[in-house]
Symmetry: D2
Subunit: 454 residues, 4 copies
Amino acid sequence: MIKMFDNISPVDYRYNEEGTTKYLSAGAKIKYMLKVECAAAEAMAEIGLCTRDVAKEICDSCSKITPEEVHEEEKKTKHDIRALVNCIRKNVSDKAKPFVHLGLTSYDVVNTSDSMRYMEFTEKILLPSLIELEKTLIEIALREKDTLQIGRTHGQHAEPITFGFAVAEYVDRLGNSILKIRNSSKNLIGKISGAVGSYNSTSLLVDDPEEYEKKVLEKLNLKPGGHSTQITEPENTLDFVHSVISSFGVVANLADDMRHLQRTEIDEIGESFEKSQVGSSTMPHKKNPINFENVKSVWKAMMPRIITLYSDQISEHQRDLTNSASSRFTGEILAIFYSSTKRMSRTMKKVSVEKGRMYRNFEMSKSHVIAEPLYILLAYHGHPDAHEAVRKIATSGRPLLENMKNDPELSKYIGKFTSRHISILNNPEKYTGIASQKTEKLCKHWEKELADLQ
Amino acid sequence: MIKMFDNISPVDYRYNEEGTTKYLSAGAKIKYMLKVECAAAEAMAEIGLCTRDVAKEICDSCSKITPEEVHEEEKKTKHDIRALVNCIRKNVSDKAKPFVHLGLTSYDVVNTSDSMRYMEFTEKILLPSLIELEKTLIEIALREKDTLQIGRTHGQHAEPITFGFAVAEYVDRLGNSILKIRNSSKNLIGKISGAVGSYNSTSLLVDDPEEYEKKVLEKLNLKPGGHSTQITEPENTLDFVHSVISSFGVVANLADDMRHLQRTEIDEIGESFEKSQVGSSTMPHKKNPINFENVKSVWKAMMPRIITLYSDQISEHQRDLTNSASSRFTGEILAIFYSSTKRMSRTMKKVSVEKGRMYRNFEMSKSHVIAEPLYILLAYHGHPDAHEAVRKIATSGRPLLENMKNDPELSKYIGKFTSRHISILNNPEKYTGIASQKTEKLCKHWEKELADLQ
Amino acid sequence: MIKMFDNISPVDYRYNEEGTTKYLSAGAKIKYMLKVECAAAEAMAEIGLCTRDVAKEICDSCSKITPEEVHEEEKKTKHDIRALVNCIRKNVSDKAKPFVHLGLTSYDVVNTSDSMRYMEFTEKILLPSLIELEKTLIEIALREKDTLQIGRTHGQHAEPITFGFAVAEYVDRLGNSILKIRNSSKNLIGKISGAVGSYNSTSLLVDDPEEYEKKVLEKLNLKPGGHSTQITEPENTLDFVHSVISSFGVVANLADDMRHLQRTEIDEIGESFEKSQVGSSTMPHKKNPINFENVKSVWKAMMPRIITLYSDQISEHQRDLTNSASSRFTGEILAIFYSSTKRMSRTMKKVSVEKGRMYRNFEMSKSHVIAEPLYILLAYHGHPDAHEAVRKIATSGRPLLENMKNDPELSKYIGKFTSRHISILNNPEKYTGIASQKTEKLCKHWEKELADLQ
Amino acid sequence: MIKMFDNISPVDYRYNEEGTTKYLSAGAKIKYMLKVECAAAEAMAEIGLCTRDVAKEICDSCSKITPEEVHEEEKKTKHDIRALVNCIRKNVSDKAKPFVHLGLTSYDVVNTSDSMRYMEFTEKILLPSLIELEKTLIEIALREKDTLQIGRTHGQHAEPITFGFAVAEYVDRLGNSILKIRNSSKNLIGKISGAVGSYNSTSLLVDDPEEYEKKVLEKLNLKPGGHSTQITEPENTLDFVHSVISSFGVVANLADDMRHLQRTEIDEIGESFEKSQVGSSTMPHKKNPINFENVKSVWKAMMPRIITLYSDQISEHQRDLTNSASSRFTGEILAIFYSSTKRMSRTMKKVSVEKGRMYRNFEMSKSHVIAEPLYILLAYHGHPDAHEAVRKIATSGRPLLENMKNDPELSKYIGKFTSRHISILNNPEKYTGIASQKTEKLCKHWEKELADLQ
C-alpha cells in the first residue's frame, strides 16, 4: 500500500483493475519466462536429449524462483535473462545445470513468454470483460429499441431513430471488436529458433529443430511464425495491439456519446451518483459524467502509443535492440484498456434513460423532421425539384406540412400520398425507418455469436 | 504538365506513379460516386420503383458528367453531393429527375464509392505490384539461399546465416502483408441506409430496405456492414489502412536493411546506377542508396497519419462531420505506399550481391562465431557452467578453439564432440543451422500462395 | 484547371487558398533555390573570388530558369540539385560556369531555400491572416463582453460568464500563438557549410568560410545555426512546425466550441448561410456548422504529421537521407493551416450571436448557479461545512435560496450577507466575476501587441 | 521493494532514476497540492480575509497529511480534491475550517501544483543532469577535436571531419535544448481564477481577485497566464513537453550515432563493460551497445505521447474533463527522459574512442575523398565542367590524383594549384575544413552559457 505513492505511472497508482497483475506486472513477466524455460526442458526430455529427472529438476526450480531473486542477480549480470538462468541453475544438480536454457537465446524466452501472457490475459480477463460490456449494451438496446430519440448529425437534429438503435451501433462495433481481439490474440506467436532465427544452436542438438520448436510452443499453447530472426516477426503483436486500440476507439466513442447526451441542455441520460459522492469541489449542484470523461481521456493517452509499435516494426538486420525497452510498455496499454472496459460496464449498467426528455428534444424539431420524407414523397410522385421545393418552405420557420398546404403548387401532391405516408407526415415520431427491427436483429445476432464464443 | 509546378503536395508533383489517378484523384472520386448513383437507379428499376428507361437515362447521364461540371456547380451549392445530383438531373427528362439520388443521403454515396475505389485500387494495381515485389524477393532468396552472410544483432556480428535466409524474412512478412491487405480490402463496406442509418427514407419507398441496399451494393461488388449511422462503421476502413501501414513498415524495414548493407564499411550489396546518374552534387565519387532512403523517408511521412484514422473512429451521435475533410487524405497514403512498392521492385531487381565482401565480413568474426556452438556443446557434454567458461576464453582476443585447447579443463571435452560438431567448430561457415532449407521451404510456400491468389 | 482533377492530395484539389503557391509549390521550391545560388555568386564577387560580371551572369541565369526546364534535366541526372545547376550553367559563359554552385553541397541550397520560403510565407501571408483572425476575435470579444452566457464544464452548466469572456480565451491563446509563430519563423536558419558541415570546400576558397556563409545568408535575410552537418540542425524547423501545429490546436479548439454552441439544443450562435447554399443533400431544413467542422477535421489530418518531424530529428552521422522525401511534406501542413485561418476569419465574421437564447440557457440553471457563491459566503461567515450543507439542499430540485430560507440552520446566515452579496444571490446573472473587465483588458493588451507587430 | 514486482509500468519497475519520486510520484502530486492550499490560506491572511492564526493552522495541517489518508478519504468522496480538502479540515479548528480551499476550484490546485512540481523537477534535477551530459560532451569534443574521422552521409564515406567536430554537433544541439527546456519551464503557469476562470468566487471575497491570484502564485514561484477557464491555457505545458521531447530527440540521435559507430565493421567507439557483465545469454563474445539502444528505444516509447498533449489542447467550452486522466501521464515522459540523460552521461563518460580504427576507416576512402577538393579546385581554376570530369575519373577504382595525372586534359591544371592545395590533395586527412577550430569555438561558447546558467 505504502509503496503505491512512490509510483509515477497512473497505471500503477490509479487506473489499474484487479487481476491484471497476474499477467502484466514485472513479476508476471518473470513467471511466464520461467514457464518457457520449463517447457523447453520438458521438450528436451521428450525427445531424449535429457532425462525426465533433469527436466523435472529444472521445472521444480522454475516454480520456486521469485522475481526478487532474479532482480538481485540482475544487479550483477546486468542482463535480465542471464540472471533468470543463473537463478534456475542455483537450485538444480550439476547434471541438470547444462540443460537449463540449452540452445535458447534470450528472445526465444522473452517473445514467447510475452505472447503467452498477452494471450492468457486476453482469454482469461479481457474477453470476459468485453463480453460483459457487450451483454450490458445488448440489454439496453433491446430494452430501448422503441424509445424515440432524435438522430443527430453535425450536432443538429436530423431524423428520428430510437435510443436502442443508437446503442445497437455499439453492440455491432463492439461485437466486431471482440472477434478481432480474439482472433489476433490467437495469432500471437512464439519462437525457439536461436540468436539469428536459423536454428543454429538447436540444429547442433536435434535432428529437426523446427519440430523441437513446435513441441516447446505446443506446451505453451502457441505456434511459431513463418520466419524469425532473433525475434518473432513484429506484425502479429502489432495486429493484436491494433485490435486493442481500435476497440478502445469504439469504447471511447460510446463514452463520448454518453457524455454529450448528459449535457445540461440535452439531458437524455444520467450517470447515477452514489449518495456521498462529490460532483465538484466548488459547485455542489453538479453531477458530472466523470466515468465517460475518464474513458475518453485515457483513450487519448493510450491511442498514440501504437506509433511505438509501428516504429518497432523496423529492426536492423537480424535485430537491433531498440525495440527492447519500448516493448515493455505494451502491458500498460492492455491494462488501461481493460480498466476502461470494466469502468464502462459499471457505468452503463447504472445509466438512467430519460425518455421524457428524449421526447421533448424530439418535439423541438418535430415539424422540420418531416422535410426529408416530404421531399422523398414529392419526388417519388413526380415533383421535378422536390429538394429545392422543400428547402424553400423549410426556411420560413413554420410547420412544414402547413406551409405545404398553403403552397398552391405543392398542395396538389398531398392527394397522391398513401395513408401510411400521411400518417408519418402527421406523426413524425413514426418516421424511424426500421430502427426497432434492426436493433432486435443485431442483438439476436450478437447474442448468438457470444454464446458461440464462450 | 505546367500545372504540376503549382502543386504543393509531393504526392502530386513528385512521388506519384502512373495508374493511381484512375482510383485516387479528385476526378476518380467523382466518377465512382456517379457509379453509385447509377447503381441505385438500376436497383430501383429492378424492384419496380421506376422504369428501366428512367434508370437508363440516369446511368447515361452519370457516364457523361465530368469533374469540371460538378466543380462549377459546387461553387453555387457549396455542397459537393448536391452539385453532383444537380449535374445528373440536368441531362435527364422530368420523368427521371425525381429518381436521381432518391432516398439517398450524401454519405450513402461517399462511403460506398470510397470503399469501391479503394477496393478496385487494391485489386487492380496495389496487389499486383506487391506480388511483383514478393516474386522478386523470392527469386533473390532462392538464388542466395546458400550465400554465407554474418547475422547481425545489436549491429554486432552474431552467428552466420545466408543472405537468402535474410531475404526470406521479407518474403514471409510481405507475404503475410499481402494476405492482410487483400482480406481487409474485401471487408470494405458500403451503405444505403439514409441520413441516420435507420433506413428512414428508403422505408418509405420499398418494403425491405435492407434488401434494396444489398441489391445496390452487389452491383458495386460490396456488402453492407452490420450497422450504420449516417456513415459506415469506421473500423473496416481503419483495418484496411492499418493493413497498408503495417505492410509499409515491412517494406521500410527491408529498405532500411538494404541501406545499411550498403554502408561503405559493410558494402555487401549495391544499388545499380545508371551511367548519367549523379550521386552527389559535390562529391562525384559517391553512390548513394537513394531509393532505399526514399522509401524509409516516405514511410516516416505516411505512418503517423494513421493517427487521423484512429481519431476519426470517434464521431458524435449519428455523426459529426469532423471526419469528412480528414478522410479525403486517405488516398495519399495509398498512392505513396503504391509508389514505394514499385520503387522497391525496380531497385531490388537491380541489387547486386557482393558475395566476396559478405565472406570477408564473416571472416572478421570467424573465430568468435563459434563461441555459441562451443558453449552449447560444452553444456550438452556436462560442463556445469559452459556460458561463463566460454565468456572467459572469448575475451582474450585469440581464436576460441585455440584458447580452448590450451585450457586444461576445457580441452578434455573435445574428445566428446562428434565429427560433425568438430567440423562446424573448425569451419564456422557451416554453422548456419537450417538457413538454406528454411529459405527454400518458405519460398515454395509463398509461391503456392501467390498462385492461389491470382 | 483541368489538371486539378488528376490531383490526389486535397491540398491541391480542394483546400488550398490563393497565395500559397508562391511559397509552397514545387515551382516555388525551385525559385527559392535559384535565389540561394544567386546569393552565393554575389557573395563570391564581393570577396573577390569571382568578378561582378560573373556573378551577374549567374544571377541573370537564375532569374530565367523555369521549373519545367529543371524537371526535364532531372530526368537525366536523377538528382534535383545537379539538374538545377546544369540549367544555370547552360545560360552562362565558360568563364562563369565554374562559379555556379562552387563549393556548395545540395543541402546548402535546399535547407537555406526552405527556411527562406517558410519565413517569407509566414511574414507575407500567414501572420497577416492570423492577425486578421485575431482582430475579428477582439472585435467580437469587446462587443459581447457583457453578453451573459452560462459557463460550462463537463458539458454541464457551471457558473455564468459572458460570451465576450469566452471569446477572450481565444484572443489570448491566439495572440500567444502569433508571437510564437513569428519568433520561431525568425529562428529558421540557413547553412553554407558543405557536405559534412565543416566547411571543407569553402575553406579551400576563402580565408574565413564562416564569414562567407554569413554574407550569403544575410542576402537572404537568414542566419546560420551554431553547428551543421550536411544539414542544418533540425530543431529550428521542428520548433517552427510545433508553433504552427500548436496554434492549429488553438484554432481547432475555437472551431470545436463554436460547433457545439450551434447544437440544436444549445443554439447560441449561428453560422450564416448563403441563400443558395445547401445544408444537406436529403434534409433540406438543416444548417450545418460545416466550416467549423472542416477546421477541426483538417486539424486531425495535420496534427499527427508532427511525428514525422520529431522522427526526422534522428539522422545518422553527418546525415542519412531518410529525412529528404519526408521534409517535402512540410509545406502541406503550412498550406492547410493557412487555409484554416482564412476560413475561420470568414466564418467568425459572419457568426450571429443569439443573446436571447444564451439568456434562456442560463435561466435553466439560474437557481442552481448560486450554489457556489452561497457555499462560499456561508463558509466565509463561519459555516463549518458549507460545501456539504449546500450539496444537501442542492439535490432537492427546488431553488436553492428558497431551500436555504426553509432550513433553520442555514437561514440564520442570511443576515450576515452584504447587500451586494444578497443582490448576487437574487440575481445570479450578476455572478460573472470580472469577466467583462478582464475581457476588455485582454483585448486592449493584444490590440497593442498587434500594433507593435505591424 | 516487494511491491515493485506488482507494477505494470516499466517507469515504476525498471527505468526510474532516484530523485524523481519527490516530484513526479502520486505522493508528490498530493504534497504539491497541499502547498497550494497553504499558499492560498497565507495569501488570505495577508490581505486580511482570515487571521494569521487560521492560515497557520491550515498550513500546519497541510504539512502533516499523508497520501495514504487522502487515498482513504477519496474512496468515500470519489473526488480527489474534495478528499484532500476534507483531510486538511480534519486537523483544524472550526474557526479555520471555512477558510480551507475557500474560493478555489479543484483545478486551481491541480494546475498550479503540476506547474510547480514540473518546474522544480526541471530546476532541481533535470537541468543539472542535462548540464552534466553537456559538460561530458564538451570534454570529449575538446579532447577529440583533432581526431580524424571520415564524415558519413547516406551511410557512405563523404569528406573527413574530426570526431570532436561530430560530438560538437550534440554540444550545440543539446545546449540549445537546455535553454529551451529552461525557458519553457519558467513559462509554466498557475491559476487561482475559479470554476470558469472569471474569478466569480474570489470576486465575492476580495476587491482585486487578480491581485489575490498573483499573491498566491508568487509564494509558489509562479505567474498566472493571460486568460484561464477552469484550467490554465494548455499551451504552456505543451511547449514545455515539446521542449522535453525535442531534446529527447537530440539525445536519441546521439545514442543512435554511437550505436552505429560500434557496429562490428566500423568499431570506432566502444561502450565499456564491467567485468561480470553479460553481453548475450547465448553468444558469450558479444559486447552490445545496450545503453545506447535503450535510450533510442525509450525515445520511441515516449515521443508519440506528445500527440496526447496536442489532443488535449481541445477542451469544450470552459472545459470538458477529457484531459484530466490523460494529463496524469505527463510525469512518465519527464521521468523517462531524465533517466535517459543520466544513462547517457554514465555511458558517454566510459566511451572509448578507437583512433586507430577511425584512421583505418578513413584510409578506405582516402583516395576518393579528394574528389571534392579536386573538383572545386578544377572549377575555380576554370575547368568548365569539373564535376563531370571528376565523376568520370572517380569511377575507375584507382586513386584519383593518379588518374588525373594520366589524363592529358586534367593534368595541365595541377600547375595552377597552390602548395597548400597540393598538400591537401596529397594528404586528404588535412581536408577537414575548420572542424577543429569550430569545435573549440562552440565548446567555449557553451561553457560560458552553462556558467551563466548556474
